[in-house]
């Protein structure tokens, strides 16, 4: 199985504070990998390090088998990595259609037409300002925006955050759909049950270090541990 991502021994800082202490992780082709951990464990920082947004001071990153350490975010994105950030960060003052014209133009399966076919709701709202969209619509827009890069690897940070359970269901179906399209997914999720229900493998990170890695099913079986990771209320939105 060929590797989509190999990150080795990442040390990342925000200014002087040391956040990641030697994080290593891998994502294989066709996999959904969950990255779990408590608030402040370093999940978002890991994703930002991989995207080149907060470049690690130490460590190595390979993408699709090629050395990508120190690359600028736009180069990483154009190399086939889609990024859906925490809080979605859509451009609220731009219309839906304009939001979808921001990403670099790429060749491939995902064009405006196929995106609108996948998310008919976005097509209906194409002239609405991003800030007028509901949380679920904003999440769809953030995913659509990343897909327009025709990525081979999608990084999602807390896609279920602030969404109603029904909408979360939709988002997770979309993520699974991505895997079926052959896009590998790295998923950070506060809701551990949810993430484990669709992931193949999982990493648990704590205080900037990977403390567990293994098949998602194995971790899911350790109910107490998952409950601890998920925090209060996580179980309620568990998918069956």
């Amino acid at each position: 199985m060929s590797k989509v991502l190999e990150a080795e021994n990442l040390h990342t800082f925000y200014g002087k504070s040391h956040i990641l202490y030697g994080v290593s992780l891998e994502v294989n082709e066709g996999e959904v990998v969950a990255l779990l951990g408590r608030n402040g464990a370093g999940k978002t920082t890991t994703l930002r390090s991989l995207m080149g947004l907060t470049p690690p001071r130490q460590g190595r990153i390979r993408l699709f088998g090629q050395a990508a350490t120190g690359w600028a975010p736009h180069r990483i994105a154009r190399f086939g990595v889609g990024y859906v950030p925490e809080g979605r960060r859509i451009f609220g003052h731009l219309t839906v259609a304009d939001n979808l014209r921001v990403p670099a133009a790429t060749q491939g399966r995902w064009t405006l037409d196929t995106i609108y076919a996948l998310f008919p709701r976005l097509a209906q709202r194409r002239t609405s300002k991003g800030s007028r969209l509901s949380g679920g619509e904003q999440e769809m827009l953030a995913i659509a925006r990343a897909l327009l890069l025709n990525p081979r690897f999608l990084i999602l940070d807390e896609p279920s955050q602030g969404l109603a359970p029904v909408i979360v269901e939709d988002v997770m179906k979309t993520v699974q759909g991505m895997r079926d399209e052959g896009i590998a997914v790295l998923l950070v999720e506060q809701n551990a049950w949810l993430a484990l229900s669709i992931a193949d493998r999982a990493y648990v990170i704590d205080d900037g270090r990977v403390v567990h890695e293994g098949p998602a099913s194995e971790l899911a079986a350790d109910e107490e541990r998952v409950r601890e990771l998920a925090g209060a209320g996580g179980k309620q939105t568990q998918r069956r």
């Binding site: 995207m51 947004l53 600028a72 975010p73 736009h74 994105a77 154009r78 990024y83 950030p85 960060r89 451009f91 609220g92 003052h93 731009l94 304009d98 939001n99 014209r101 921001v102 990403p103 670099a104 133009a105 790429t106 925006r145 990343a146 890069l149």
Partner: protein
Amino acid sequence: MELLLFNIFNGFIIGIFYALMALGLSMILGLNGIINFSHGGFLALGAYMAYSLAPAIGFWGALIVSPFLAGFVGLIVERVLIRPLYGRDPLFSLLLTFGLAMIMQDLIRTFWGATGLPFEVPNALTHPLSQVYFFITGYRVFLVALALLATASLFALLKFTRVGIRIRAGNADLEMVSALGINIYRLRAVNFSLGIFMAGLAGVLAAGRLGLTPTMGASLIMPSFVAIIVGGVGSLVGSLLGGIIIGVAAGITTTYYPAASDVVIYLIMAVVLIVRPRGLMGQEGLLE
């Protein structure tokens, strides 16, 4: 009455220069995060290049070529001097552009001399269009029309082209734009250059109206900053309006109490800051 109209129209023309300056300043502040004190220097540069080019390629040629040349110089300045300062304390870029403004002024003195120079406008444009309203010359009407055209083109570019949409997106969240595969170094360079283009254009137009002096840009830049504050930081429409408003207000004041025509600009700014700190069109929370 005629005197009032005369002064309003004069103020309106000056307001257009403020507005063109403020547009560029506002764009550069928005995406590049730079308060460009050297903007007036680029205005003067555009004017003087037009002055030197006009004998060779004529007024019309100089009018078209000089703003582009100014934009090109802006591109080089951005690449060599501004780019290393992104992400640093704003103080660095303030000091740099402040120093650059003085250097540009002295370079102009060195090459073109310290005394004012006239800039010849084609005869076809110098005649008054009306006997009563003698101040409405062809050149002034042309100046207004061209400024409107340039502004409309700029707004269309920002609204309808991909690069324009990316600039607007980047004003809100530049990091996200880079994560979507856009080279933000290039985007910032294009944006800076566009802003300087507007200054260069203002320079050529101002040369035909006010003549050339090495300090022509310096005397326009403070009101242009005021225009941005009155109009609202972060809003290009606001910068445009702010420029026109303070220009016209200064013009009206000239009619009744000429000594106060400079002060009135700052009075308007003070009133706006007290009543509506975000400016007329500014977004909430940007500076509050």
